[in-house]
């Protein structure tokens, strides 16, 4: 067991604990150290997860030669410097989604990954939910036929509860509000299922939140395949996580009660996928093969460090997900004119992501 992959969580808030529980459900990872600027948090985290040591500074953590990789769950606008530093220090990096809050930062991260050759993974976990994995199988084996319309919504009441004490209140830290926090999940999963988005048309509104950010966003995604996608992200209503795919041979409707999302080994139990075949007007439940998204993505990351797995969501997919968000905000600023995803990536001045 001393051969477990030695990882260290960075930023020890709620999400670090969710991921730590996921990692500890597996038998691949040892949480060998941790870092937060807050000593209290470090001690509490060490105690909760039996982490043998903690670093008082990020530099100290990165100097720890036994640590093979870090798990970053700090605010979006801090991702880039933390990722760059870790990669330069020879550590593998797992970061929570989105890869960054701007494409400038995302492209800088992409450059650092290319330059260092480090293992890099982004926590676009939602695509690993059993329902989405099953949707992918239906698309790949042709059971759904050709998809022409896709509809996705991820909303909750967070915007009504935000206070100036949280970074999500601020437009410069969380541009797009509900879109970058919630919608970015679907931006990844939809592209996982249907391939790259070519252009985005969107309107973003700030309706009921007191925070600086958008709480009602709707986008139309034009996929390279020709399909059209609807992406909604709201922060001013009870919670909802849905995705419908309309195909020539079948419709698939996915519905998740995401309040159970944190315990991802049970999340699928709170979801349903139904199918409606051509010529039928009723829907049938589709059996799902249970997944454990947080455990699986962390295990995959850890094994990739040892060369025994491939990271599923690295730079390319995570930049594409963020680019859909940024293209939507740009489109909204242009009153709905379609904005090319490749153009918003390229306009940030870095090499195009392929």
């Amino acid at each position: 067991m001393e051969d477990k992959v030695q990882l260290a969580p960075v930023g020890l808030g709620r999400w670090a604990r969710v991921l730590a529980r996921g990692a500890q459900r597996g038998d691949v990872i040892e949480l060998a150290s941790c870092f937060s600027r807050d000593e209290q948090r470090r001690r509490a985290f060490q105690e909760e997860f039996s982490v043998p040591r903690a670093a008082a500074t990020y530099e100290e953590l990165l100097a720890d030669t036994e640590i093979e990789g870090v798990i970053i769950t700090t605010p979006n606008d801090t991702h880039r410097p933390l990722i760059e530093q870790a990669l330069e220090a020879g550590k593998a990096v797992y970061t929570d989604k989105p890869i960054a809050h701007t494409l400038e930062d995302a492209n800088a991260v992409a450059d650092a990954v290319a330059r260092t050759g480090g293992v890099f993974a982004v926590g676009h976990s939602a695509r690993r939910l059993a329902g989405h994995r099953e949707m992918k199988r239906w698309i790949e084996d042709g059971r759904s036929g050709e998809i022409s319309l896709a509809e996705a919504n991820f909303s909750n009441e967070r915007g009504l509860q935000l206070t100036p004490q949280t970074w999500r209140w601020y437009a410069d830290k969380s541009p797009g509000g509900s879109l970058i926090q919630l919608g970015v999940h679907h931006a990844d999963t939809l592209q996982f299922l249907l391939g790259p988005v070519d252009s985005v048309t969107a309107h973003a509104r700030r309706l009921h939140t007191r925070a600086e950010v958008h709480d009602a966003v709707m986008a139309i995604l034009e996929f390279e395949s020709g399909a059209l996608g609807h992406l909604a992200a709201g922060w001013a209503s009870p919670g909802m996580y849905t995705m419908n795919l309309l195909g020539t041979k079948a419709n698939l409707m996915y519905d998740l009660d995401f309040t159970h999302w944190d315990e991802s080994h049970q999340a699928d139990d709170w979801s349903s996928l139904t199918s409606q075949l051509s010529g039928e007007s009723t829907r049938q439940p589709v059996a799902l093969q249970r997944t454990d998204m947080f455990r699986e993505q962390l295990d995959e990351f850890a094994l990739a460090i040892r060369g025994r797995a491939q990271v599923e969501v690295g730079v390319t997919a995570s930049v594409r997900a963020l680019a859909v968000v940024r293209a939507a905000l740009e489109s909204s600023a242009r009153n709905g004119a379609a904005v090319s995803v490749q153009e918003v990536i390229a306009s940030t001045g870095s090499a195009p992501v392929t």
Copy 2:
């Protein structure tokens, strides 16, 4: 019983029979005559619905002094001349939705209604479904709070089945395809629920149909209230009729198996409305008061002829529903740029609809 309102169906296809059954479930209307150019159809219709007489020409029908109003179910592009002629002849007019296939025609109809003072009703029946009526009550009495996002989809496989023998094949007769045939229902119902749409952003595609028309359309509706709406209409998948409203106090989710729509006294039995209140992650069924949309709208039309009811959907609402469709097609032609509904109405050269 001789006091029943004397009406005459015009265009005696499938939809005329659906409406005739609706009218005969009530006790307000007598189908006293009918007209189709096809003598066989006239005879079959008379026999099926015990209609005492039939007219060999439209002029003969309009010269029948006992006929108080006509029920028009002919192709969209024939609505205008038939409506104008009937109104000029002093008959009340009920026409199936959409009011017309172009705003030019719709505005001409509006002018004819204003000029003649005739009773005029458009069959935007969907808003009368029990689920939509209940949604309206939740909005009006504040149970749903402020609606920020609305999602509506009406799709079926019709586009995969079209042949050049049907008028719906042709772009000049059915511009927008699935949008003008199916989506226009939601364009009306959403405005019934949330008030007028200010602007429309849309993409319309012809993906899998062999016909000339669009079979995959998505639009974002910007309501004057600030809310954003998603309107999808597809013709290349199994059937689906859904509407979700996301409010600060509750979400409402409506789902209808519209294959039972024709028998509208039972349609509500094939629908479900669920609510999800603020702070809750599960949905509860909402009890519905059964409606009979076709009977109710025809009874209302008939009683309005006698001055004993008000027509709910006349020129204003039906032009607004069509204008959303036309604005969506215009937006798609402009690559998603937002198009003002009032501008597309006004640009057709007639008086603005208020």
